[in-house]
Subunit: 285 residues, 4 copies
């Protein structure tokens, strides 16, 4: 869909996932790590496993929505690939976008398998996500033939985030629980999301805005820089979410620690040693 | 052999290996891992080592067949490299294909050495396979000079699978038993196999089919997307084989568990504790 | 700032950091490792953590100076991005340089967070530095449009150091304390520093020097080789600093060992066994 | 030196090192590993450390010879860089070659430092060798401007071995004792060596041989394939040397085992248990 909506839709999908990851992974590390409650280790894995299942299901649903939207919009191919009368392919752009969504669907299924108790090989979900990103980049790479320089450039810039994400996610197959790689992936997803919106605004200005001169080299220079600013903003969002999650978890742990302390004081005010240990723990948190 | 058969032959080789790997590796992991029988650990390594020997021998044989076919087809070079009268090289295409097969032969020999009890350095087989893939890609890269755009494009797409396979196999030198890398390699081999067939159908339509317009950009766009569909199909095949193997191993283990249980009930119906343990085991499987 | 000062300023920054790293890392390894004092292990981490804090603060300060210089030099954009009257972007070069400095500022903040007791994910500082280098390279890559061949070439050569540094720093996220990677990073920073100065001397010869012929291929060949000489010089500097640090630490440790020995002789001249152990230690150092 | 000798000289250097490595590394692994004598572990490290010292010294010497040859051949620059009268650089080709040799000299010094008891950071020798290879490739990459297609092609092919070697040697910084990487490096060194000779034979046929048509595409296709054959030959040489070393070590160990056995039989024919253990050992070897 070569219009504003066709870029806003995937942009929103990536943005949603990026923001979700920027909350989920700090939460996972705070709960499982330093700032966690004493009993947190046993409760949280179950909750996170359920989260992963939901994430996979949402991904499959998004991919399905994307494919349907690309196929059955008024000017779409309506699941028709080849026109025998004209000896011509029907709406190949929409078909290519459908293919991209298809691989994100596969990635969603891999997420479901990995989160389920079935014996999927470890790292399958990351490999599938890496492949989905690679296929997206691969199709985009051959996608921009014979367009204006600015159009080619804004799509090429996207490839940096896409292939960067594919490479970093591939690394995660082997370094599964590296917090920096997870946050890096989240930041690249946010970058992709906001950049899709930016592409929409640049190439198809909504509300009858002024058209950009698509051959001016200064516009290309500006847009390159603008891409970096998007990434700086993505980093800011990640930092903000990380801080917010950390503060929330810490405050809650402190409150629960107090509750526990009070209960302990009531029930076994004589047991001083365990009391001290608990106090120490709530201080350490 | 620039005809349909010349692409169908290597395609079938790669397809055979891809399908074989997609059965062998899940089998290895299911038998050695979670779903295995109690006594499986001691029996299977021997069987797998013999499998590897056979695999290496088959690879050497296929490579030999490939070289012979390229050299001694009616329009082949018949082992003649330089024509002194014309001051010209004889059938360089066939010679290049022979060279590709040669390195797969080397890879087969490395497989044999690694599977044998000789003191080959660990990872030799993977390095040799990675080299064979690299050489294939390297020769293809310089192979497509002055052809039609579509011809160049379908061969370039192949390079993605070839170099991707070379890189992932090189990783396996160090991460030898990673299930996802092994399945990834299998999927890329299947992709190569089906794509060789696809190249044959596109460039040399058998049965006098309609010729493709080799300069139409839409055909290039379609073929790029088609490549992704081939890979999606390869993933489906891998998933199917994985599931089938897992189910077979599980059912067999359950049956053997029952047999064992019955035998145990007959011989030592008094020993209740070991019986319970066995029941538990067959449930866990 | 397309003039001599605009290249000397970042050059000095990189040179300062490269030289500092070439002293800091050998110091860290000598103190923490073989040549250290017996009590060194407990004292040094605090000192190094404070060093890291100062380093981060200096980086933020340098980035701030860089941004301000690019924005508010007489012919700068003065924080104005778009000129509505002329429908033109204002001084995009300066804006791009400001963006580069911005990411080094982000890297400085990441350094501060990692050195502070806050729960930053491990490796954050290296990832941020790697990103800052990548963004620098990324902007430079699209920076050199429609310039003379020599201008393009000297800036392209810089990219080797920049992307090399980005890749090696990314490796450090996972191999944090690898001495060779740290020294490699230091050497690339020195190379960047001296090369910025070299670019300034070549493109804007100060003191009314003779202008270089920017289209002569021989000049391009010379400058490529010159780049290698810069690197050889950087390696020499690293080797010199490493040796100097090692000698200093060794001499100091020997002196302290003697002091301790004397004190021990005075206070407990009877305790022979501990004395011998100490002597042995100072010999080993 | 753009003549036959100028290619034969570096070719011989690389060939010598490749062959040496293909003997040294199998020897190291056979002596330290499975096939070694009981007392081998203590003796060999010293011998290998001395070997490394000699290797480093030879490398420095070769680099010195190379620089001198490039500078002081009759048509060399004789250490003169710039001709003030003509405003021209003097013999830049020779200077570039000298720079390449210089970095191999640096690599030799790093070898000496690593083999010496001085506190060089681990992996320094591999990093320096990787850098030397990278610099060689880097200079070659900008070296082939405005030559005939065949000339460009034969030098470009060399880059595959050079950059491949640089990457694999860089990996060795972290995976120091990986036998396959060491043998891979040896094979690439042999490939470089024989390819330099091949370049000499193609571009400057000695003995007044027939000149190659440097624009014929068939020649380029042949030379690409020929490069693969060189590599196949290099692999054959490696395999041969590996086998030879392994057989020698095994035979010698067997002989020494017998000697020891006989001595033991003479001196302590009563001590049956230790005798049996020894017999077992010599059988295992």
């Amino acid at each position: 869909m070569a219009n504003f909506k066709g870029h806003a839709l995937p942009g929103s999908f990536f943005l949603a996932f990026g923001l979700w990851w920027s909350v989920k992974y700090p939460l996972q590390h705070c709960c499982g790590g330093r700032g966690g409650r004493p009993g947190g280790r046993t409760k949280t894995p179950l909750a996170f496993s359920r989260m992963d299942l939901i994430e996979g299901a949402v991904k499959v649903f998004f991919a399905f929505v994307g494919i349907m939207a690309e196929q059955f919009v008024p000017d779409g191919p309506h699941a028709r690939l080849y026109n025998r009368e004209d000896h011509a392919w029907v709406k190949l752009m929409n078909w290519q976008h459908s293919t991209m969504y298809l691989f994100y669907g596969v990635s969603g299924i891999a997420d479901l398998l990995t989160a389920s108790p079935l014996p999927a090989p470890p790292g399958l979900d990351r490999l599938a996500l890496s492949l989905a990103l690679f296929v997206e980049g691969f199709l985009f790479y051959f996608h921009v033939h014979s367009r204006t320089p600015l159009d080619v450039h804004v799509h090429s810039l996207l490839l940096v985030a896409v292939f960067g994400g594919a490479a970093s996610t591939f690394l995660e197959v082997f370094l599964r629980d590296s917090p920096v790689l997870q946050l890096f992936r989240a930041s690249l997803a946010i970058l992709q999301g906001t950049w899709f919106w930016q592409i929409g605004f640049v190439l198809y200005p909504p509300g009858g805005g002024e058209q950009w001169d698509e051959k001016d080299h200064n516009n290309i220079m500006f847009i390159t820089m603008c891409y970096c600013w998007h990434y700086a903003a993505a980093l800011l969002v990640i930092a903000g979410n990380y801080t917010a999650v950390w503060c929330c978890v810490r405050r809650r742990a402190a409150r629960e620690g107090e509750d526990m302390e009070i209960r302990l004081l009531k029930t076994s005010s004589s047991d001083t040693s365990s009391h001290k240990a608990l106090l120490q723990e709530s201080e350490e948190e």
